[in-house]
């Protein structure tokens, strides 16, 4: 009976481990959407309280404004933190980034999460609207770096998605070349010429794709180092254009590989 129970636990754990890779990031995304809804509501209350304080300048309106501001500051930190957690999950799931890249970006994201945690922890101690403004100023000053991290990591996730498919392509192209070499003695000269021509074409196009992916990576590194949100956005736009080109090149390469496979099928 005990063995049966242990076996059942083992099966349950195995089933949990076999859950789809994206389940964590899906949950993180749902959390982010929820926090965004809460933030919208809290921010609306804050705007109302601020408006009343600026209009009436009474002690009551000031107290209400301070309360609503503190609530908003906490929720703002929570919102950005949840987004950073979403990035963390997506970075962990990404198959195209190297472990070194993953660790580097995860480290950057974690340091931003720590910053926001400090911000959130400091809010209860705020005793005045001036104190709230000073507290908010910390985030305003730090925001370009935070924004660069968020945008850079998001762009690298997109590059990683393409790189994962490119890796699959490389593996299959390698398999095709191995098969060709193995069966070369039994093939006809005409068939071999066609196959060799495809290999040259694919190899050349693959080098061009490598350069495009390097351009994407270069643009993304500039996003991480951008001194302002505007400059980060400009580099993100450059990266996005290069990613589109990379996908197009990968599509062509896959079509060429399909042609190579088709030409391997026949002797002539």
């Amino acid at each position: 009976m005990r063995k049966m129970f242990a076996f059942l636990i083992f099966l349950t754990l195995s089933a949990l481990l076999a859950l789809p890779v994206g389940a964590s990031s899906q949950q993180a995304y749902q959390d982010y959407l929820y926090q965004f809804d809460v933030y919208r509501s809290v921010f609306s209350d804050f705007q109302t309280a601020r408006g009343e304080y600026l209009k009436f300048q009474t002690l009551t309106s000031q107290t209400t404004a301070l309360t609503k501001t503190k609530t908003m500051l906490v929720q703002r930190a929570m919102l950005v933190r949840t987004y950073l957690l979403l990035l963390t999950e997506r970075l962990n799931e990404n198959q195209g980034l190297t472990p070194d890249e993953q660790n580097r970006y995860l480290s950057l994201v974690t340091s931003e999460i720590n910053f926001l945690d400090r911000q959130k922890t400091a809010v209860p101690a705020i005793a005045s609207l001036d104190g709230a403004a000073a507290h908010s100023k910390e985030l305003e000053t730090h925001y370009p770096a935070l924004y660069a991290t968020m945008r850079g990591a998001a762009s690298e996730l997109l590059r990683g998605a393409v790189v994962a498919q490119v890796s699959d392509f490389d593996r299959l192209f390698g398999d095709a070349k191995t098969l060709i070499d193995r069966h070369r003695p039994s093939g006809s000269p005409e068939g071999q010429t066609t196959v060799d021509r495809w290999i040259v074409v694919i190899t050349n196009k693959r080098e061009i794709l490598a350069q495009t992916l390097e351009d994407v990576r270069g643009a993304n590194q500039k996003v991480f180092k951008a001194p302002s949100a505007d400059e980060a956005d400009r580099w993100v736009a450059d990266s996005a254009k290069a990613i589109i080109t990379a996908k197009q090149q990968l599509l062509e390469l896959t079509a060429n590989l399909t042609e190579l496979i088709a030409s391997m099928r026949y002797q002539d």
Partner: protein, 127 residues
């Protein structure tokens, strides 16, 4: 009945009209116009020319109209399969490439879920 048929009744006042016997044109003599055979011949010639012209036009229109495209028969070339075509590794590779092709086509390079939140940073208590 027989009498009626044999002897037609004639009265002295009636004169029998002189009808020229049919089938004797030579006896018509001067009344038959001389140009009639020529006119008939001319009309026959014109009709013949019209029919001939019509035939020629039809033939010309048939030859000048573009011929309807007729599908050329596709020669079926029996291509000989290579030795690798029956290799299980080749068949696996073929299906893997097909799967990859589908994945690359469906690859999304714009992810709206990764858009960072937009924040209104300054609190705005200073007017």
């Amino acid at each position: 009945m027989e009498e009626q048929l044999q002897t037609p009744v004639q009265t002295p006042d009636q004169t029998v009209p002189q009808v020229p016997p049919a089938g004797l044109p030579a006896q018509a003599g001067n009344k038959f116009p001389v140009w009639l055979p020529f006119a008939v011949g001319l009309i026959a010639l014109i009709l013949g020319a019209i029919v001939a012209a019509n035939q020629i036009m039809q033939t010309l229109s048939r030859t000048s109209a573009p011929a309807a495209p007729t599908p050329a028969p596709i020669p079926t070339i029996a291509r000989q399969l290579s030795a690798v075509a029956t290799d299980s590794a080749f068949l696996l590779l073929e299906s893997s490439v097909s799967t990859l092709s589908g994945r690359v086509s469906a690859l999304s390079i714009q992810d709206s879920t990764l858009t960072p939140p937009t924040l209104d940073l300054p609190l705005g208590f200073q007017q």
